[in-house]
């Protein structure tokens, strides 16, 4: 009787049924400007920030930290201005997360100096005795692998030339290794001697932390 005795027809009808909601709520929105708004204020990640983002992904930081501030009074009080779609235009993949075991990080950039992050990454418990965040001291013992840095920015469409990428990396390296770096003392404490003059994975993830939400803060300052 009917399609219950015709498996191929049944499969085709099922496919059409499940595709209806899919087309309306997922496929069509892919091509609407509202899911991919752009803003002149939101700049792509620099090569070092992207390297940091990849380490953030590798360590699964998104399993405990969200990156979306919701438009709720107490949330804006706690974290800052709520998140806008434009901010994520360069994010492949998005890292909004689904659980806040740790605080939201979408406005973390510029909130603390680099030295805070070096100390906190090395041992969260040294700053907050009861924190349950895993220590990431070993990130400072890993030299940053920049061999794919240019190709990454190329795939992600950031529009840098290879020279620009090398320059970004060199500039960041000279910043964190220079005698005048404001967080030099803490960086030297957490970084092994052999890597003090090199870029480490810890440097990269902190560069990424400091980028988060920065563009929105710049936008607000101008308005």
């Amino acid at each position: 009787m009917g399609i219950y005795s015709k498996p191929v027809v049944f499969a085709i009808v099922s496919a059409l049924v499940i595709l209806t909601g899919t087309v309306v709520t997922v496929f069509i929105p892919m091509f609407l400007p509202s899911t991919q708004p752009v803003s002149a204020f939101v700049k792509p990640y620099t090569a070092i920030e992207q390297e940091g983002r990849d380490i953030y992904m590798r360590e699964g930081c998104h399993n405990c930290h969200t990156q979306t501030v919701r438009p709720l009074r107490t949330e804006v009080l706690r974290y800052g201005e709520y998140s806008k779609a434009e901010e994520f235009a360069w994010d492949r993949p998005f890292l909004w997360g689904s659980r806040r075991t740790g605080p939201d990080l979408n406005r973390i950039g510029g909130k603390y100096p680099d030295s805070w992050h070096y100390r906190h990454m090395q041992s969260p418990q040294s700053m907050f005795t009861l924190s349950n965040m895993p220590p990431y001291a070993w990130l400072a013992s890993n030299r940053l692998d920049t061999s794919d840095s240019f190709r990454k920015t190329e795939i992600l469409g950031y529009g840098y030339t290879e020279e620009q990428v090398q320059q970004q990396l060199a500039e960041y390296k000279s910043k964190v290794t220079s005698a005048g770096y404001d967080s030099k003392e803490t960086r030297d404490q957490v970084t092994p001697d052999a890597l003090k003059g090199e870029l480490t994975e810890m440097d990269a993830i902190i560069a990424y932390m400091q980028k988060l939400g920065r563009d929105v803060k710049a936008m607000e300052a101008k308005q």
């Binding site: 499940i18 899919t22 709520t25 699964g60 399993n63 979306t68 235009a89 659980r99 895993p134």
Partner: protein
């Protein structure tokens, strides 16, 4: 046992693979549950929470869940079509490659090779492997349905066909990415768009792995185990079509109050509420099947697994849509409430139904009596109590955390720091760990019971 020419070796292989990955996944679950209140357990990068959490979710979702589905599907397909498996060699290859893929998945995730998209963390070479495995399964599904001896396709077969089609669409669309190296790729979609695709996938992969095929088991094994026919065929038809239609619209309730366009969120809320109807269609169908035979809850050890299982499914499908409402979502989202919600579904509904299905199926395919009904009852009570203690604890923790995040002083400033909210959860985390241990012991009893069952002499030989 009559020799019907059915191939049960692959059924048995997948059933014991499911048991293996269940135990591995639960050990990792206990490990990360302990890390939540004692970070000293983050001994090496490989064992740090951020990496291990996805080994837990993938190990249980793909390892245990899918293996349990494949085991029961290969069984139900043959029984319901009265046809032997058309390609037993392909099914055997499917079994071995499946286990290799899950092992590789665990190792790569521990190594930090992850796309970060929830329940789709595997990198692209493994994604291709998953698609090939799915095709190997689908060939047997469609071949057996085309060759079948039984004219009508029973309800369970509808759910299996819907799963086969939908999981393929979901998995391929969400995992499209541009490779950088063998171990790294970047999503094809960006920002809000990527979030929308991911949660369309994330919600529906749960639906079409933890709901649809488990309903297939429920509709097949409940009548088999109780000897009672399903209450209403018409209700199952209505439930089936409205369930698979409505499910796909609801992913964005995971993205409530995020920068995703508001209309997509609102459509998702509306369809989530609608979904209560088809979900409860199956719940009601299950309850009414027992009409006049409720004494089976005492007399038949399997009945209570199915009825408690479908009860947790019913609670799950009420709780889910309510959590999706904007006001409630604003309170509960990102807290442990949601973690409790997920685990009622997996530890309650999915594990109860797969357990009972295995208890029914394994003795029949091996020609042996179940080793011990008493142990099966102990297993039932341990996983019931463990699960309830687990989920209720997480709901309480979630309410507390949500309230502390929102609490303000009379002058409008925040009453609690983030750390205040977190540390107030540690007592709950300790109780959750203990509840998890109770549950785990129940699962060990389950595994022991099945292993002892197949190690016995065949019941024919004894007679």
């Amino acid at each position: 046992m009559k020799d019907t020419g059915y191939d049960y070796s692959v059924v048995r292989g997948f059933a014991f693979s499911a048991l293996f990955w269940l135990i591995v996944g639960l050990v990792i679950g206990l490990w990360i549950a302990y890390e939540m209140f004692n970070p000293a357990l983050n001994i090496t990068p490989w064992l740090s929470f951020g990496r291990l959490r996805v080994v837990h979710t993938n190990g249980l979702g793909l390892g245990f869940g899918l293996a349990g589905i494949f085991a029961t599907a290969y069984y139900m397909l043959q029984r319901l079509t009265r046809t032997p498996l058309p390609f037993p060699g392909l099914a055997k290859a499917h079994l071995w490659l499946f286990n290799a893929a899950i092992a590789l998945a665990a190792v790569t995730l521990m190594a930090g090779i992850s796309t970060t998209k929830e329940y789709a963390e595997l990198e692209w070479p493994l994604d291709i492997g998953v698609v090939i495995l799915w095709v190997m399964f689908a060939i047997n599904v469609f071949a057996i349905l085309i060759k079948r001896q039984e004219k009508q396709m029973y309800i369970s077969l509808w759910y299996l066909v819907a799963m086969t089609v939908t999981v393929a669409v979901l998995y391929i669309v969400n995992n499209l990415a541009i490779p950088l190296t063998l171990f790294k790729s970047y999503s094809l979609y960006a920002g809000a768009n990527d979030a929308n695709v991911e949660w369309w996938y994330g919600h529906n992969i749960v639906g079409f792995i933890f709901t649809v095929p488990v309903l297939a088991m429920f509709y097949y094994f409940l009548p088999k185990a109780t000897g009672l026919p399903i209450y209403s065929h018409r209700l199952s038809i209505v439930s089936f079509w409205s369930l698979i239609f409505a499910y796909l619209w609801t992913g964005a309730h995971h993205l409530m109050l995020t920068p995703l366009p508001e209309w997509i969120q609102t459509v998702a809320i509306a369809f989530s509420i609608f979904l209560i109807a088809p979900s409860w269609g199956s719940v009601v169908n299950g309850y009414y099947t027992l009409q006049g035979n409720w004494d089976q809850m005492r007399t038949n050890y399997l009945t209570k697994f199915f009825i408690l299982g479908i009860t947790f499914y019913g609670l799950q499908t009420l709780q889910g849509p309510l959590q999706g409402l904007r006001t409630l979502n604003a309170f509960f989202h990102y807290t442990d409430w949601v973690v409790g919600h997920v685990h009622m579904g997996t530890m309650g509904w999915v594990a109860m139904i797969i357990s009972a299905s295995f208890y029914y199926m394994i003795p029949r395919i091996t020609g042996r009596d179940l080793y011990s009904i008493k142990l099966a009852n102990i297993h039932f009570w341990l996983i019931l109590v463990g699960q309830l203690a687990w989920t209720v604890t997480m709901w309480m923790g979630g309410i507390q955390q949500g309230a502390m995040w929102k609490a303000t002083n009379p002058d409008g400033s925040l009453m609690y720091s983030f750390l205040d909210g977190l540390t107030s959860l540690y007592p709950y985390y300790r109780i959750r760990f203990v509840a998890g241990v109770v549950y785990f012991i129940g699962i060990l009893v389950f595994a022991w019971n099945l292993i002892q069952t197949v190690r016995q002499e065949p019941s024919d030989a004894k007679a």
